[in-house]
Amino acid sequence: MLPRRIVQFLIIYFLGLAGLLAVKYGLQLSNYVIPGPALIWQTFQAEAVRYLRDVLDTMSIAIIGQVLSICLALLVGIVGRQTTWFGSFVKVAAYNVQAYPIVALAPIIFILLGDGFLSRLLIAAMICYFPLLLSVLGIMAEPIRDIEHFYRMTGRMRWQLEVKIRAFENLGKLTTVVAGSATLAMAGTIVAEFIAANAGIGYSIRIALYQSDLGKILIALFLIGISLSVYQGLLEWCGAFIRRTWESN
């Protein structure tokens, strides 16, 4: 699962790079518009270590943000699954919060929380929270009738059991959503850093953009992609592992 993800990423990345280079040589563009392979390699040697550190910094925040939003989405999903007034209120509130674009909220967040760790974390969590919530709500609100029937008939159904049944039956779907939301958490953190932070790969990309340095951006994209592939692969592996243990105890 993990090596396959990395190989897939490498194929996509190098196809994209080849396309760029084809345009470069086709149009005889200078290294300023699209850097040549030698310059990209040179940039890689000069920046890879620093950028990797930045990517890991960004990723650590993305992971914490993701964990937060998973917890929040589970909480809201569990409460919002009920067809009660409170359930639908929670659902509506959750949808509304997401209706505001992050770029519009970001300045308020930065003014209130400054441009450090907390702002980056909050924005990452906000960006990856909604798709997670949608899936969790969808999963939690959908009864597994064939399993739940017995517990309802015999008055044994408790909310914990209901959540357990629905989570277990949809574990594969949940794993996919969680792995997918990792990309969003990462994108969210990068956006936050790009808008207003003093650290992370988003911040480095912003500086590279100031300097019109596409080479650095290509290196950053490479490192982001490879780190994300590893992380997502690990998440999928964890999902499979949890399922295996859950099924065999």
Binding site: D146, F150, W246, E247, N249
Partner: protein
């Protein structure tokens, strides 16, 4: 454990239609069915057997007419596509839902249903027939006066099915069973009364036919059995 000497299920001109639909599932349904005993609900597909079962459990009260259940307080309904959660072995699940003092009954049921070798398996690992058997055991371990078994023995081979039905009749003589099945021989042979819901357009929408109520000790009278079968088929 509930016990009741006399039970009666009766229905007066019951009509049910799903919201926003014109044609009723059944109309003017009237019958009387005495209990306890192993009874059946028989009829072609689509005549409203499952719908009637739902009305009996009280999950839906949105019907016209009257349904009375004298001496029956607790009704359970089970159907053949039910599943047990996949996170534990079926034996563990059984252990969790057995009431104190019922362990003996559980062991007898497990033996009767021939499920002992499969208790350590996950639900998904069982065959279709085994799945239906383990599910039915769960229900039989509950506190009920009426149990509606909607094709609960589907995919179970005939000898085992006979064994199980006879066993249930031995173990639960004071309960009211309503066994939904399409097997006319089976219901005619084992059931005391058979409530037959007729296909749409028949004059009598419902009739109660007497079955042979065959027990472990007796030998079935072939002629009478055939007559009962004929009666059932004619009523349907």
């Amino acid at each position: 454990m509930a016990s009741s000497a006399s039970m009666q299920l009766s229905c007066r001109q019951a009509t049910f239609r799903y919201p926003r639909t014109a044609t009723p599932v059944f109309e003017d349904l009237s019958f009387e069915m005495p209990g306890p005993g192993f009874n059946a609900l028989f009829g072609p597909s689509g005549v409203g057997k499952t719908t009637l079962a739902r009305l009996l459990t009280g999950t839906s009260r949105d019907f016209a007419g009257e349904i009375r259940m004298d001496g029956i307080d607790r009704v359970l309904y089970t159907y053949n596509t039910e599943r047990l959660p996949g996170w534990s072995a079926v034996g563990t699940h059984l252990e969790r839902i057995v009431a104190p003092g019922q362990h003996d009954l559980r062991d007898r049921l497990v033996a009767l249903f021939d499920m002992q070798p499969h208790l350590a398996s996950r639900f998904a690992q069982l065959s279709l027939g085994q799945k239906n058997r383990i599910n039915l055991i769960r229900y039989l371990l509950q506190d009920f006066q009426m149990l509606i078994m909607d094709e609960s023995l589907a995919n179970v081979d005939e000898p085992t099915r006979e064994q199980i039905i006879l066993g249930i009749k031995d173990l639960f003589p004071d309960r009211f069973f309503l066994y939904i099945s399409h097997n006319v021989v089976e219901v005619a042979k084992f059931c005391r009364h058979i409530l037959v819901l007729a296909a749409k357009g028949r004059a009598r929408p419902a009739s109660v036919v007497s079955g042979r109520d065959h027990n472990r000790d007796g030998t079935p009278d072939r002629e009478r059995l055939e007559r009962a079968m004929l009666e059932i088929v004619n009523a349907a």
